[in-house]
Point group: C2
Amino acid sequence: MKPDLSALDAYLDEAGVDGYLLDADSEASDQYYLSGFDAPDPFVTLYDGETHLLFPRSLEFGRAKRESRADTVERYVDFDHQSKIEEHGTEDAVSYVLADFLGSYDVDSVAVPPRFPLRTADGLRARGVEVTADTDGVVTEIRATKTDAEIEHVRAAQRANEAAMQAAEDLLASATVAADDTLEVDGETLTSERVKEEIEVTLLRHGCSLDETIVACGADAADPHDRGSGPLSAAEPIIVDIFPRDKATKYHADMTRTFSKGEPSETVREWYDLTERAMDAAFEALEAGATGEGVHDAVCDVYEEAGQPTLRDDERTETGFIHSTGHGVGLDVHELPRLSPTGGDLEPGHVVTVEPGLYDPAVGGVRIEDIVVVTEDGYENLTDYEMSLVV
Amino acid sequence: MKPDLSALDAYLDEAGVDGYLLDADSEASDQYYLSGFDAPDPFVTLYDGETHLLFPRSLEFGRAKRESRADTVERYVDFDHQSKIEEHGTEDAVSYVLADFLGSYDVDSVAVPPRFPLRTADGLRARGVEVTADTDGVVTEIRATKTDAEIEHVRAAQRANEAAMQAAEDLLASATVAADDTLEVDGETLTSERVKEEIEVTLLRHGCSLDETIVACGADAADPHDRGSGPLSAAEPIIVDIFPRDKATKYHADMTRTFSKGEPSETVREWYDLTERAMDAAFEALEAGATGEGVHDAVCDVYEEAGQPTLRDDERTETGFIHSTGHGVGLDVHELPRLSPTGGDLEPGHVVTVEPGLYDPAVGGVRIEDIVVVTEDGYENLTDYEMSLVV
């Protein structure tokens, strides 16, 4: 896949800098996107209209030449690393190598992402290179808009996600309820950990991976980032949030359902129905030209009108609707755009989650999440999974 | 687990700075180690003798108070974020919040790790805070020496690793050889992907995760970082390198074996025997007081005496022994100390891999790797898995 980097060219023009520089391993999605190369250790990518890679050692050299999208691939050794160590010491030698590397492309000034490593920046500045951290990361911004091929990658990951959700729901449905209200399968207590294992094995069998699945019941579910642990109980909301990465393409999907084994409390039922309405309101607002803030406001309106606390209404609340409405999904499971108070314009090709929810330790949590792609006049829902509370 | 941070206190004293600052999510192991908190989005940790956490939003606030090791937990909102946005704009408000947060602990100067985010550093500098990137990262250096509890975590992960390696070896052993020399199981071609799936499912069933297993055969195996793909063949070396993370403790293990279905070429057999001898030489050299460089040299000596190219002998070689001898293992799968040309003093409690290997696209690759803990007078091998080439 060759990304469209015309926005990066325009950015460099406008910022008046010679190039865009990355120093990261390919777990950093900007690096993977710009270099087209997958490596576990940090390397440098310079974009100046062409793409140039620089590796500390020879280890990745051959593979980078074969697999990456780069126009040139070089090593420290190609810039007299050893003699620079002798002259300047091990610590400073790297900045002299990097400065020579940039100099060989007539690059005197670079923009870098906000999380660019400080030591590299300070080293380059000491060698006279101008280094400026750009605001949100222009490559991160470019990645927000997906090509058709990228949307297909997300769709494929979402199919695996649905298989995993089905495996979790089937396991919950097959459970019996013990005298103390805990769930049992084959005579053993059913735990969050057991359901997560079922989910993750299913994902692996479908070419995806994830090791941080959320299966959170009762008080655990009242914290949106609690992954959940221990026995699951009947008549309580169980939040199942699965966000796998396709191992081949590296693109993610993301989906949440809330289940209850048997009818839950009236409050949970009300929350579930209200959250479905909040979701409908978000979908109603979602289209190219709307803002992420507008979609988030539509959700807050529904919750606030029903008397639920929101962060919009009270920035210190720890109950109610205490997160944003959604986020972009792609190489990162959390990326741009934001459906939040700071969410900007939505464009066709933005892939976002819509995931309203309500939380209170005294009740538990309810969250429902689909993944969709923004279109000119609305959205296409990439999710094919029923919303149904009671299993 | 409470880490021993006396070396960090000493470092701050010596460097003459008021505190150590991190800005990262908990995938950054220094952050997880210092904060004792697991969160998917970046947050700030200040260490000034006590540990102070700062979160952008309220989302993680309650859980951080419950789960982290920090002495204080605060949010942007506790430092008038909203009025700072109104006064200084969204972009600059964060640096004003951070400066106030540091100021509330009388911290005017901080050391930060080399990969600390540039924008945060530049923002703090603009507010008059002195920010210095330390050399290798003092917290990273502290993490190199493991407590007994940490060694037990690695040992537990290694037991899972051995179960996964056994599953892979059993699958290779059960294969039959087709007319074109490819391996088959149950009438289907046996691929790298199929063996990796078996490994990763076994790891999940043992509470560990990994999605980058290496199962590399033939030319793939000649590149130490190629993860391998496609059909596996008889009489060729198949490198199986597994480095799982225990999901509960977050500590890793690491082990490599090279297998051949049926007797491989004479060259591969020679390489295997030579690599076993290189490994013995490394073990002979390994003890507290030795250096990582010394252990690496012992391996290079064996290979060079046998006429094999090494990076020590030729920094541009792409065949022969083209990586370092080993690396530390803990919260990161690659961490300090280094068994390499830049490897410093080894200390009791260092957990390292020993993994010599030889590579050439015309032959394939051979690598053998154990994981061991350095002791006063030698090492304890944490690996319990036979070395045997032919399955």
